[in-house]
Assembly symmetry: D2
Homo-oligomer: 337 residues x 4
Amino acid sequence: MIRVGILGATGYTALETIKILLRHPEVTITAVTSRQDAGQPIAATHRSLVGRLDLDFEESDVPTVAAKTDVILSCLPHGASAEFACAYLAAGKRVIDFSADYRLNDLDTFRAWYGDHHPDGERVGKVVYGLPELFRDSIRQADLVANPGCFPTTAILALAPFVKAGLVDPQSVIVDSKTGVSGGGRTPKLNFHYPECNESISAYGVGTHRHMPEIDHILKRYTGTEVSAIFTPHLAPMDRGILSTIYATPVEPMTQDAALDVLLRAYADEPFVQVVDHLPATKDVAHTNYCHLTARIVKGRLVLVSCIDNLIKGASGAAVQNLNCMFGLPETLALRN
Amino acid sequence: MIRVGILGATGYTALETIKILLRHPEVTITAVTSRQDAGQPIAATHRSLVGRLDLDFEESDVPTVAAKTDVILSCLPHGASAEFACAYLAAGKRVIDFSADYRLNDLDTFRAWYGDHHPDGERVGKVVYGLPELFRDSIRQADLVANPGCFPTTAILALAPFVKAGLVDPQSVIVDSKTGVSGGGRTPKLNFHYPECNESISAYGVGTHRHMPEIDHILKRYTGTEVSAIFTPHLAPMDRGILSTIYATPVEPMTQDAALDVLLRAYADEPFVQVVDHLPATKDVAHTNYCHLTARIVKGRLVLVSCIDNLIKGASGAAVQNLNCMFGLPETLALRN
Amino acid sequence: MIRVGILGATGYTALETIKILLRHPEVTITAVTSRQDAGQPIAATHRSLVGRLDLDFEESDVPTVAAKTDVILSCLPHGASAEFACAYLAAGKRVIDFSADYRLNDLDTFRAWYGDHHPDGERVGKVVYGLPELFRDSIRQADLVANPGCFPTTAILALAPFVKAGLVDPQSVIVDSKTGVSGGGRTPKLNFHYPECNESISAYGVGTHRHMPEIDHILKRYTGTEVSAIFTPHLAPMDRGILSTIYATPVEPMTQDAALDVLLRAYADEPFVQVVDHLPATKDVAHTNYCHLTARIVKGRLVLVSCIDNLIKGASGAAVQNLNCMFGLPETLALRN
Amino acid sequence: MIRVGILGATGYTALETIKILLRHPEVTITAVTSRQDAGQPIAATHRSLVGRLDLDFEESDVPTVAAKTDVILSCLPHGASAEFACAYLAAGKRVIDFSADYRLNDLDTFRAWYGDHHPDGERVGKVVYGLPELFRDSIRQADLVANPGCFPTTAILALAPFVKAGLVDPQSVIVDSKTGVSGGGRTPKLNFHYPECNESISAYGVGTHRHMPEIDHILKRYTGTEVSAIFTPHLAPMDRGILSTIYATPVEPMTQDAALDVLLRAYADEPFVQVVDHLPATKDVAHTNYCHLTARIVKGRLVLVSCIDNLIKGASGAAVQNLNCMFGLPETLALRN
């Protein structure tokens, strides 16, 4: 059994990771850490775990946790995550990092968007991006994997085949995304207060959201092409799910069938990317690790629709998919539910 | 024009009160107070007021506010509310108090449920309860009105005619209420955090909710009968609305028609209480000052269903209805929307 | 008192219109029609009207209804609406038509998007579009007004000043809209079945929605410029509200302040269009006739955010605003709530 | 591998059953039937199954389906379900029936609540009720199991230990239940139309809901005591979950600790019934086969709170738990997610 430790386990992505791992036949959860709730049973915080996981939160003491784990899944915020990631790497553990600390292509961009401090800046740009559909071979060898951001997952899966083949103008890309509220985390704030965000939709972080450079960087890394996407996230009144509607200008006239064919060929063998003819809804993929994708041509413009469960394929499911890759297990283990 | 000042105007009940008063032909809002946001435009806090109310929050300085108002609506929390209420009363202003400070029949019960401190304990038990359907004449004369609690409004309107006529065992009453989340206020807390309470229903405050003694006291005050109700509130995933399902044992066999008739006769002339044959839904009364009521007999037991908008008939609409009473205006002014 | 008749009064837009008119001091509702519910009290269908409107549905018999009304508001579907509109016009009544029958600039486009049949094709292209912010003077004189579509209202109000001033490339426009479910009407269908659309967001009608030509036509009519917008509506899990995020390429570099200034100058004197600095949410305008608008510049591209209540400013409130214009009343009457 | 056929597989309970069985290591789904969609791929109806289950719907032709299955799960409506159940039993197949056809204790009661027709009336009253917590041994031997109703599951699990021990007055029981909308099925109807039931709560079927006699009968069958419960279901604006708040009068004074202890002792060894100290929420058990239970004493009365996922422990999960029992598999297989 692979022994897993989860850092920062009070949040929603940690909870979802735990639920997936509880049905994983090759994994056992041996440590869950939380600074604020150390010493408390995890089921006191996550009541859905009553009777299902009998562990207490502990501090993230590296020697203690390292001694009882084979792999660390870090759900800590950026900055803190890299700090612990490099400590556990030094202790010989493999690490999957949910934060943005190791996702971007260079430290300068990280600093411009996340602030000057990075406790492990040297590794930035050298860590594999944990999207097996694009970087599977590297993930298999990796000791450290940067788990993708939720919005970039939808955008990159949709755009990568078109950018790679040079079919669209890489400066014309617009990503208009809609997310459920769980993406905002478990800490109460006014904009996630039920009577504020229920029955309402709003744009946020227009031009300033940190996932904007991530989309550009990973598409560049995978395709070699400079991409400059406009990214607009919206908060929708639902727990989970992301739907991204993506606009790009074809460099030459493209039919709808041709557009769908680009996707179909790219993902024919991928277990978790399903190219569909109909317009997908986030509910079709809720509580699963699937991404549903389709394409349309409107007045000559390419319109892509891409949706995932932000907590699963956008975070926890992706992490378990990466874990399966890293440990030579069938990639779909515990994820075909 | 009646000049109105609203204390504690950052919350949802204040906002609803303002929206109602903005369409009131005899009223002008001249002061809105907030300790935390003093000096800020109210529309910066309540964005739905952009272009509709051009006032800044101010401190609740009694001489200043009193000088420009005829009546004070206090949306302050209990304790603080009585403190300001008696100051404005002393300054010659009429006051409608949204808090529980003056609702109960005696100070001892107040202390048992709300804590020892009451800044104006002498008035407790002598203030009219602002339910015009039961206490209209007293409200008309009053300088101080205790605006009812939201849950008690549903329970008291449904039960009062039956208890008054001695038709049900007053010890058999069970009030099972379901409320929207706005009843919990505007301050972010984990249990009102969207991903926690969305798609979920739960009971809370079972046996400990402060509206339980209020139901007993006001029914006693109106009917002379000691009532001991069991009250169980539930949090439902919606913005607004309360539906109470109320169970009581008839002292003699009662038909459904007879039960409906008790309600119909009691409220025949009431503009805001509508007795209906069908089972009402909170949506039928959302954003209105109406209460919809019906009765059923199941296996000999009386089952009453009563619903209101918790922010309107359960708070702000009731306050404006009281204001209309107090100032000799048509009771439905600004409330027939 | 202006006597109003409402055709097709079983739907949501009719209900909202009634609620607004119930607080209108110069209007009385004298007829409500419904083929399917003729003879039934309207409150049996719309339970929120219990005790508020004591009228029975009747058939839309033109002489009968014309005899007791001064103005007709038609909430009938396209085709049927024009049929009755021209009959009531012939009977000397003024008409506000909620359908798309008279909105477009020419009959050919109507036929291409709505089908060959139009019972009053000659008037198409000659009827004023009921957006007072753009066409107020014509509305004042009109006997027949084409009430705008909900999505076009958000898009046209945001784009008109920029297109009029030649500031953006009219071929670059993308309108990505998100609407609540009430926009789909009151007839039960699988895609509006609660467990299907709750907790889910999806795109629909991509490239095929009938509001796409309406956006192009009205912008052309107002500005003289040919516009070709891509329009993508999305269904969001909420009752009401539309938020449109609109992308356009400036013909010359534009700052964010300049963009906001374009909107501020265009709508400085408009009571119902509020230009805001913050990113607005549909909740800010829910249950009101307001449109909140803002502008951003992202990577040189103009991003506009525009939101309304689809049932009010997107339908019923707009109709009452038009009615106020047509009858020389203050335009905000009954709408400042 | 156990070969499973699912009858009436277009609905929500069938879909949930399929999702559970897809992760069941000992089961393979070999047939899914639907009269209306026969010949179509199941993923065309249930889009969440794209790429996960490659089967076409077929007619429920007994010889054909029997030849390729070991056990039949019938999600057909009552009446139709018994008709097919007895045919598959005659063909030597084991059957789990989701309908109410075999749940009650006698045919007369069935006829009074469900109508005169029962295609297999002789078996009524002789079929084991599929609640393993109460009837595990009989389920293990059974060829036919009556899968429980969703509301009765919450009520019976909570009440059974108290009634069995004679601790409460069996005539005093009130079950006030709140359910999500998926309980109403997948066929569009006005009361499940999103804009009707969203943001609203209502009681329905007061005194007339068919689960009322089921609660009485099964408690009688398990405890030998005649129970007469008042049952009031409510529709809450959420996809899934049932929370029942249950009131009963203790025959002798009971402390809260004693009440909790009754539950703890009854369910100490049950994998899926968790007795908790806190007040549970439906979200704690959503998407799981767990029931969370607690007890309170309020003014001497016993108040029980019981919650489940109506589609899982209230239908599909219960069925798989029964299947595991019937086939001698670990009862929690595929259900510990």
